[in-house]
Amino acid sequence: MVVDEWARVVRHRSVAAGIYSISLEVPVIAAEAWPGQFVQLRLSDGIEPLLRMPLSIADARPDVGEIELLYECVGPKTEALSEIRIDTRLACLGPLGHGFTWPDSAHPSILVGGGIGLPPLLFLGRRLRAAGYAAVLLTGARTGEKHLPVAWLNPAASRVMQSTDDGTLGHAGLVTGLLDAELDDVAYPMVYSCGPRGMMAAVARNCRVRGIPCQVSLEEYMACGIGICAGCTVPVHRSDAGTHSAYGRYERVCVAGPVFDATIIDWDG
């Protein structure tokens, strides 16, 4: 069930360079949320910004009725969010979209996050571990100070490996390099990924070559987040959204995704 909940800001802090964690009291959404789903936050009753902002759910705690979001300041909406104080109320629509799936047979899992693509994987890792499964988390960032502190990563993974493009932290190079090495070593039955499009395309290619199923969480510019504007489409080879799908070559990320089987996506389209 999707609800537009009147969220209260419970905590709000900087966790890495330009990256913030915000916790919202939203009991209904917290109870319903599934890894890979997102919320649409309303930052203003007025016209600036006009649209809501989609953010992935980075953790949900039904016990306290809270969700956590992690975001990076990249423009007007994220800047506006970063100025919101504790106890402020804002409308939060969710949980939205289709999340990750983990068949009983698909373990241990490997989670590959790039940049601010990490949040949905953290939620996924926590739920996998809570269900008793092992999960390895590979995370890449441009530079060390963009990496989340391990306190944010550890609960989500039995093992964490980090990379940076500039070599200031962990493996020097792309996170796809880490993945390659891991896949050479271990026969993972499933790969989960979220990050920049180019990174996910590389992960998807690697998995296809190796014959490993791969789920990716996509981001596209969204107006509605609920499937009514057709603004957030990605090119697909085929649609899994059922025979009634109107969306032919283009599938809506917000309702058919944001998590897709990587082979569905037309990465060159």
């Binding site: 537009d4 107006a223 499937g227 009514i228 504007c229 603004g231 090119p235 109107a246 032919g248 283009y250």
Partner: protein, 303 residues
């Protein structure tokens, strides 16, 4: 209790607030989030004779108080619409207007013939104003004679009331409005989006995959209001006002300027409940101002 009902070309709406085409898809997604039966009606996303894939991404971007879109009329086509969308729509307890577009006059007429056979459509809305197509689309809407030809053909093909959706991207919208009135249209709706563009200054590329798009949202409200006022004075047809309506007061501006009903578009993206909230605000205004019938306000602008 104020009476919010309106008579739109012989068709009674419980209230004057409809959801605009392309901003509520075919009703299914919103039905879970808002009470569609509390609205005056729902207008389907444009359907075309054949399925359309739409334009490449990015398709949308926010601009100051506005939204640029270049969806490109992605839709399943009339066959899939009738087979898979209509059964759901038909069961909704609100008026359903089906919005159609085509590349030729004949195709418009053929679609009208097929829709005429469905039970329960309240009206057809003729989209001759989409700015995001390479051909067809707006081409009909900017030329009074072509617009009239479409209307005549559709009117011959159906008994349903025909609403013609006009484009603002013209020198004189009243010329198109009077031409479609003469051709037999039952109502006009305006405005569709204004042609617009955004540039990514880092990449030095258009933001939208389609280069240009259509501008909607509060930014265009003053333009829409001026056109509604002019068209209301130029024709005797009922006018449906569209453009940047977000609140009851916005809707009232249109009604006072001459709109019989209004359509809510972009606002639903930010608040799925926007239409219902507007109905409530209209009612409150009537109570506060001691107005017993909202429809008395249409065109009440004192100039």
């Amino acid at each position: 209790m104020a009476d919010l009902s309106v008579n739109l070309a012989g068709c009674r709406l419980a209230n004057p607030v409809l959801l605009a085409s392309g901003t509520c898809n075919y009703g299914e997604e919103l039905a879970e989030l808002t009470d569609l039966s509390g609205l005056g009606g729902v207008i389907t996303k444009t359907i075309t004779p054949s399925p359309r894939a739409g334009n490449p991404a990015p398709r949308i971007v926010e601009t100051p108080a506005g939204l640029l879109n270049a969806i490109g009329l992605q839709n399943p086509g009339i066959d899939a619409f009738i087979a898979h969308r209509w059964p759901f729509l038909q069961k909704l307890n609100t008026r359903i207007v089906v919005n159609i577009a085509a590349d030729t006059v004949e195709e418009f007429a053929r679609m009208a013939v097929r829709l005429d056979r469905l039970q329960g459509i309240a009206a057809l809305e003729i989209n001759i104003s989409c700015p995001n197509l390479k051909q067809g689309g707006m081409a009909f809407g900017v030329d009074p004679a072509s617009a009239a030809a479409v209307v005549r053909a559709v009117k011959q093909a159906t008994e349903l009331p025909v609403i013609v959706k006009l484009t603002p991207n013209v020198t004189d919208i009243t010329q198109v409005a009077t031409a479609v009135e003469a051709a037999g249209a039952d109502a006009v709706s305006l405005i569709n989006t204004l042609v617009g563009m955004a540039v990514d200054v880092n990449l030095r590329r258009p933001v939208l995959g389609n280069i240009t798009g259509g501008l909607s949202g509060p930014a265009i409200k003053p333009v829409a209001l001026a056109m509604v006022w002019k068209v209301h004075r130029a024709v005797r047809l009922p006018v449906l006002g569209i453009g940047g309506i977000r609140t009851g007061r916005d809707a009232l501006e249109f009604i006072i300027a001459g709109a019989t009903a209004v359509q809510v578009g972009t606002a639903t993206f930010t608040d799925p409940n926007a239409g219902i909230a507007i109905v409530r605000e209209l009612h409150q205004y009537c109570v506060d101002q001691g107005i017993s019938r909202l429809s008395d306000l249409t065109g009440s602008l004192a100039t």
